[in-house]
Symmetry: C2
């Protein structure tokens, strides 16, 4: 068979069932091979940032790799921003990037570009097939790299002549590196710190330590030692809601995060890095924990977090019951003006059990996170790499991964514009995602940052953060992509629209206009 | 003053008057500095592919650099595809990419990425400011690199602490490399070949040889020697229309291009590379000219093309009058079904004098190009790097560069989706561009490529090229961005809509539905 088909068969055999794709001529043999390998479902995105973001969402929810199919260097380039986010989330993700046939690269045809150089900054592993016969094995190897530890981004360049040559599928998946067990000295130091007085010890949890079992164990450690439990600011996937142990989330604002970490003598890091502010500011330190606090590294994004928490629980002889579980509590339905708080209250009032919440609400995100703390248990997917325009694609992938779960995406208007083409994939795949666009008609977070400079109003500079002239009409944007949509201007209207959308069974967008006049 | 202001003042002094921007917190001091340097007009794009593509369009029409302002690695990544196109066009373009403050990079904050590594594959020059005091000079140097020869893409990384430190503007612009004069041996070989029998000699012209004066000189060479005049398939900016020398454009289809080049013994290349097919195909050579034809390289994208043509004219003692000028000829207004030919006929019938035509019409492009050959003189901007989604941003920049010229952008629906956010910038800046979306509701060119594989219908693979379920509604998409829009389903309706749009004085989109049933 041709190598394109052998590659797809190899990947299908190794568990790849979905291929998020925006292919072109150099990938044509891989496209044709889809008809021979029906185990792999292709999902089309009309822009590559949709493709990579959707693969990220799928893999975060399935906890196994999704694959993408991208068209040469420029196609990969369009997908890089959301690969950056995926890599920061330690998402297992395999990119297949078609290239010109080997003999064609030197001819300097218009689409020629250095694909591997482009891929490297946003990939954990980059490689290429050696020849047609070696393509399936190269694919299996790349997939193994995507599955290393908790996951990573692996990018495989596939020259067109390799895809159209002959090969046989590979049946034995190469091994992946296991999760990294905790360093014994670090574990000992952590136990010593926790025994010595929990009130000066903080356990900061990140990505691989945010499933319910891990949180419960962390809560038992806190119950026994009195340590503080903290959570990284941008968790890739967090279990939360009524009955779930709820660490305090590290604030986005530097001063607030510093206050949360004030008095910490021992900072235990599990699945999280020593926290730094998102941006640097003149005369301000970048680290948010006290400089004199000891950092105890229990493992980063590759950590075997579950086993580490088990080891802590055992060593400390922890109580059976955790502290810090969230109480069931829903706010009343809001009324009056439509504000970020009102949006948050409606969501928290109505959020169905087992929802997946995709949060790229930016300046409206803090209120949303707080209000939903006592809602029925749900999964929360945050913007992990700071590159806006992840939310809509993430919701596509999350809904494909969890077809029976309600998916709610709450998104700022500025960020949603980067990958609005995701709406079309929602319509095409009939994915009943509810999208709430919080439309303040500004890059509001940048307004805050400009204010923080002091020294004036900067009317010319500030105009770059103004999305009101003309106002984006999200109802028409959604309908243009084939998605039903409605606009809400007050809290009652928004609440009613959200209730309807959550039971509509089809993709629905609500533009929540929070802009003032 | 702070270095951000000193940098902008330096660039303004050196001729930068427009800054296409999508900034964030790491560029905040540059944003604030805009209020102190009013000579630089900021233009906001809601996605970085709009920003870089608009800068390309501006610079192609002004024939001098535009600048961009981009946000860290992911912001640059989003702009890379259109930088790829700009680089292929040899467009003079300066990117300013903000980075974290120097001390912050090592802290692994979420948005950290290797900006210079990302920039390199799509830039002719990449650098960074050495410190705050050196930032203005680094900017002047980068601008000089963007101005080397006919132009190139220069990318400057600016750490935030350099922007907020102190510096003074630089008043002396560093020198740029001049255009590369023709090699004397190559010129001699070209003259010999042309004297020896023009019927077996072809002069292939590219980017820097496509202004009217160059074309006239090439036409005089053809008049004297009988050589064939050819034009690269994807010219960055081509002067054409009634009275202008019209080389034959090399066909996109490999078999057609081979037929055009058949019998060539000497291929003279000026501003163009030895032509290769856009993609490779099994068992087909990638070069389109006969293997045994001699290639005579009169200079590539950096060539001093005008002087080279003057030297040819002088050496050959050319006739005063060129051959091959296009006759004034407009087709009649079309009627009946709306096809690509009907769209082309309407455009050719109505095209105003001195129009700028932005062509990303893909499968509808050949008819459009042919029909407009005898229209009043105009400039034609093609998709230079094969990375679709260039047309709408290019039109933004072209209209800003030529505010008094009619700008018409004819775009395939599939490609237009990659950077549709450009519509908002048209509305915000009140740019009276007329956008025609040729809506066949397919990636039609990929359908053709899949057919060329033979072997079956590939229903599963082919579904990846189907944009009809659901159909994109371009009227709503445009209105959602604040742009007036209308749909046309037949030739008469399209013709009337185009006539109205061309005199509307505001941005207008026409969705020309050519999809069957």
């Amino acid at each position: 068979m041709n190598a394109a088909r052998a590659l797809l068969a190899t990947l299908a055999d190794a568990g790849i069932d979905t291929l998020f794709a925006n292919p072109g001529t150099s990938e044509m043999h891989l496209v044709a091979a889809l008809d021979s390998v029906p185990q792999v479902r292709p999902v089309l995105g009309l822009f590559e940032g949709v493709v990579t973001g959707a693969a990220d969402g799928y893999a975060r929810m399935q906890r196994r790799p999704a694959a993408t199919l991208l068209h040469l260097g420029p196609g990969l380039a369009n997908g890089l921003a959301n690969l950056h986010n995926a890599r920061r989330a330690a998402t297992p993700l395999l990119n297949i990037v078609g290239d010109h046939a080997t003999a064609h690269v030197g001819l300097n045809a218009p689409l020629t570009a250095d694909i591997e150089a482009l891929a490297r900054p946003m990939s954990d592993w980059v490689g290429a097939s050696p020849d047609a016969a070696g393509l399936p094995r190269a694919g299996a190897l790349a997939l193994a790299r995507a599955r290393d530890a908790n996951g990573g981004v692996a990018t495989l360049r596939v020259p067109a002549d390799h895809a159209w040559g002959d090969a046989e599928p590979v049946r034995h998946a190469p091994p992946s590196r296991p999760r990294v067990p905790v360093d014994a000295d670090a574990l000992h130091a952590a136990v010593t710190a926790l025994r010595g007085g929990g009130e000066h010890t903080a356990l900061l949890l990140g990505g691989p330590a945010l499933d319910e079992a891990s949180l419960t164990m962390a809560g038992r450690v806190a119950a026994t030692t009195g340590c503080r439990l903290l959570l990284e600011t941008f968790p890739p996937r967090l279990r939360r809601g009524a009955g779930v142990v709820m660490p305090r989330r590290l604030a986005y604002r530097v001063d607030a995060a510093r206050a949360q970490l004030d008095g910490t003598r021992h900072l235990l890091l599990l699945g999280a890095a020593d926290p730094a502010s998102l941006f640097a500011y003149p005369g301000q330190p970048g680290r948010m924990a006290p400089a004199d606090a000891s950092r105890i590294d229990l493992g980063g994004r590759d950590a075997a977090a579950h086993q580490t928490l088990e080891a802590l629980v055992d060593a400390l002889g922890c109580a059976r019951e955790p502290t810090g579980t969230a109480s069931a509590l829903r706010p009343p339905a809001p009324s009056g003006a439509l504000t970020a708080d009102a949006v948050a209250a409606s969501v928290a009032h109505l959020l169905p059990p087992e929802a997946i919440v995709v949060d790229e609400a930016t300046t409206a995100g803090a209120a949303l996170y707080k209000a939903t703390a006592g809602a029925p248990p749900h999964d929360w997917l945050a913007l992990t790499g700071g590159s806006i325009g992840q939310g809509l694609p993430l919701a596509v992938g999350a809904q494909l991964a969890g077809p029976d779960r309600p998916v709610l995406c709450v998104h700022g208007d500025g960020g949603a514009m980067y990958t609005l083409q995701a709406l079309w994939t929602l319509a095409r795949e009939r994915l009943p995602v509810v999208v709430v666009i919080v439309s303040n008609r500004r890059y509001a977070i940048l307004d805050m940052e400009l204010d923080a400079l002091g020294g004036g109003g900067y009317p010319c500079g500030r105009a770059l953060f103004d999305l009101s002239r003309p106002a984006l009409d999200w109802v028409q944007l959604a309908r243009g992509h084939g998605v039903a949509a409605v606009r809400a201007d007050d809290a009652d209207g928004f609440h009613a629209a959200l209730a309807r959308a959550l039971s509509a069974g089809e993709p629905t967008l609500i533009e929540a206009v929070t802009a003032r006049g």
